[in-house]
């Protein structure tokens, strides 16, 4: 981001959007179609949100030819990035935008879920607010349905409003085939092979909630979407087995120690 000025000054003729999406830190963005950008209807209301709106729009659409000093130029660049982000939030919920983001999602451009049980599930960028400058971009995992902070700090500074609160949910409404099967596997904290009571009790309570949700869904004749549906029967049974297995597992990692 810092070398922004020098770079644009030298290759001013290159497409601004190409440059923008290929620059470091902007990996989450997809390219907005020229037609979408030039249709004023799609930009409704943005002129009040963006400073130097017209110049910024010119810059984004590569028709910028204003002679101005560096300071002015820099603020226009900043506005252009902001404008691009705001249009981006609108664009990615259109048919073409969704398709582009789906491609990026399939490639894993947004990273993988850090949660161990999610098995490297690709993530989707999202914002916790549609209002700009509220919170930075977060990543949504469709498998555990939770939000994560981006690994890299260069992504942590992107505004969440450039992706919006609805995009990732719309994506899965439009492409239900891409909804990953949910997993019931979970981490069970153990000490010397024995499950820890407080965590295990909470786990059992959560499992109860899950089963009641499944019952609700079954009553409504809706798929539950869980993988290994038949495994749940076993898991209830092997509660006792695991209790017995506890000390055995402990033997492998036996820890003799002196206090």
């Amino acid at each position: 981001m810092d070398d922004f000025n020098s770079e644009t000054d030298s290759d001013y003729t290159s497409y601004w959007r190409d440059w923008f999406i290929s620059s470091r830190g902007n990996e989450y963005f997809c390219e907005i179609d020229e037609e979408y950008l030039t249709d004023r209807f799609n930009l409704t209301g943005l002129n009040t949100e963006v400073q130097y709106y017209q110049y910024a729009l010119d810059l984004v659409t590569d028709v910028f030819d204003l002679d101005c000093d560096d300071d002015m130029r820099e603020s226009i660049e900043k506005s252009a990035r902001h404008l691009y982000g705001l249009v981006h939030a609108r664009y990615i919920v259109t048919t073409r935008g969704l398709a582009k983001m789906l491609e990026k999602y399939k490639k894993g451009d947004f990273g993988k879920c850090p949660r161990v049980m999610c098995d490297q599930q690709p993530l989707l960028p999202m914002g916790q607010s549609d209002v700009s400058n509220t919170s930075p971009v977060k990543l949504f995992c469709a498998k555990c349905e939770d939000l994560y902070n981006p690994k890299s700090s260069r992504h942590a500074s992107i505004d969440g409003a450039y992706f919006g609160t609805s995009f990732h949910n719309i994506l899965f409404q439009v492409y239900p085939a891409f909804i990953p099967p949910k997993t019931q596997r979970r981490y069970e904290p153990r000490v010397f092979g024995f499950r820890v009571h407080a965590a295990a009790a909470l786990g059992r309570w959560q499992a109860e909630q899950r089963e009641s949700m499944k019952d609700r869904l079954k009553q409504a004749r809706v798929e539950t979407g869980f993988e290994e549906e038949d495994e749940e029967l076993e898991s209830e049974e092997d509660v006792d087995d695991e209790m017995d297995a506890g000390p055995e597992a402990f033997e492998h990692g036996a820890v003799p120690q002196q206090q």
Binding site: K143, E145, T165, Q173, P176, A201
Partner: protein, 374 residues
């Protein structure tokens, strides 16, 4: 030819200083020198003796000098005593054939051995203390989950057997495990930290505040709504929640998964409208991040007896003591159970009276029988 003797830094500290080894604590030499702490590791680590020597920086290997070698072996025997496994014998025979390439084998053995010792060390008193200092300094990083609010995490393994899984990070706020953000940790074996350490750590330092502050007002509003909904659902609307117990299942309620529960669960929305549970793309995983609004719901013993009581069962004091098998908890539980106990005392009292009547009669009876029999 051995360079390890020349460096001022010990093998242990240079190992812990390597890139990607930031999670390791420096195991004290006292701990390693105590043979008791190494029980059973000989069979797990190839070239055990050499590896141990490398870790402790003792008696640098000198292959050219045969005498030196023999001296060393004598020493080994002294330390090991009679119960030398065959594996070790073979290793020592091969020692004479060792070439420079063996050094890398020993090096990797030493790393494995150090890791396995480390797994034990961090569950010992000095080790866990050392890890606590690293934890406070945030050496292990923070939880990537948004609702955990950068809660500090701990390195753990998902298996105690080396070679099966890489190191993971355990978040006490959501009780889940995550892959470390940096790929350099993907070469670190999870068994070097072990499955026990994560939870044992928080059981050792129960006073540690793992709670996270809710920052957004929207989250708080969500939480309030969710709490009200939960109350309505459980038919408790209007009645106050049970007072917060001092401990729940052995830990302070404020430290039981503070990153979970109402307000900390993601609610999918499209244009501001919540996505229905019945939609194909609707939420299915909320249970994973749930936590009861009324924390006493997790007191399974109490719930069990409450259920039983409704059926008019006879529960004596002995029974409830059995349920409170954990001695530390028994006291707390008893305090909580006072109300219930009082009621059961009533039935227990009648039971006792019945028993007393029976007992009062029986000795005389047996006497009578005895007399009659005699």
């Amino acid at each position: 030819m051995s360079s390890s003797s020349q460096v001022a830094e010990s093998w242990i500290s240079s190992f812990c200083g390597l890139l990607g080894h930031e999670y390791f604590a420096e195991v004290s030499e006292d701990f390693i020198e105590d043979d008791f702490n190494l029980t059973g590791l000989q069979s797990q680590v190839p070239m055990y003796k050499e590896a141990l020597e490398m870790i402790l920086d003792v008696e640098p290997e000198d292959d050219d000098d045969e005498d030196d070698e023999e001296d060393e072996e004598d020493e080994d025997e002294d330390i090991l005593g009679d119960d030398k496994p065959t594996g070790y014998r073979r290793a020592s025979d091969r020692r004479h054939l060792r070439m420079a390439s063996d050094l890398s084998v020993i090096e990797s053995s030493a790393e494995l051995l150090y890791g396995l010792i480390h797994q034990r060390y961090i569950t010992s008193r000095p080790g866990i203390q050392q890890m606590a200092e690293k934890y406070e300094l945030q050496h292990f990083g923070t939880c990537p989950r948004v609702f955990c609010n950068l809660c500090k995490v701990l390195p753990v393994g998902c298996s105690d057997t080396p070679g099966s899984e890489t190191v993971k990070l355990f978040c006490p706020s959501c009780l889940d495990v995550y892959t470390p953000p940096n790929s350099r940790f993907q070469t670190v074996d999870g068994a070097f930290f072990g499955t026990t350490f994560g939870c044992l750590f928080f059981m050792t330092f129960p006073e540690l505040e793992i709670g996270t502050v809710r920052q957004s007002a929207a989250g708080a509003a969500d939480a309030l709504l969710a709490i009200q909904a939960a109350q309505k659902a459980s038919g408790q609307a209007g009645t106050a929640l049970n007072p917060l117990p001092l401990t729940i299942n052995g830990i302070s309620p404020s430290n039981l998964a503070p990153g979970l529960g109402p307000g900390n669960i993601y609610e999918p929305r499209i244009y501001g409208f919540r996505v229905s549970e019945r939609a194909k793309s609707g939420p299915r995983m909320k249970w994973l991040r749930m936590r009861p609004v009324d924390i006493t719901d997790l007191d399974e013993t109490r719930r069990f007896w409450d259920g039983r009581e409704g059926g008019g069962s006879e529960m004596g004091d002995e029974d409830s003591n059995m349920a409170d098998a954990v001695p530390g908890q028994a006291v707390d539980r008893r305090k909580k159970l006072v109300g219930r106990r009082r009621r059961t005392n009533g039935s227990g009292g009648t039971g006792a009276v019945g028993g007393a009547v029976g007992e009062g009669g029986s000795p005389m009876d047996t006497n009578g029988v005895g007399i009659v029999g005699a």
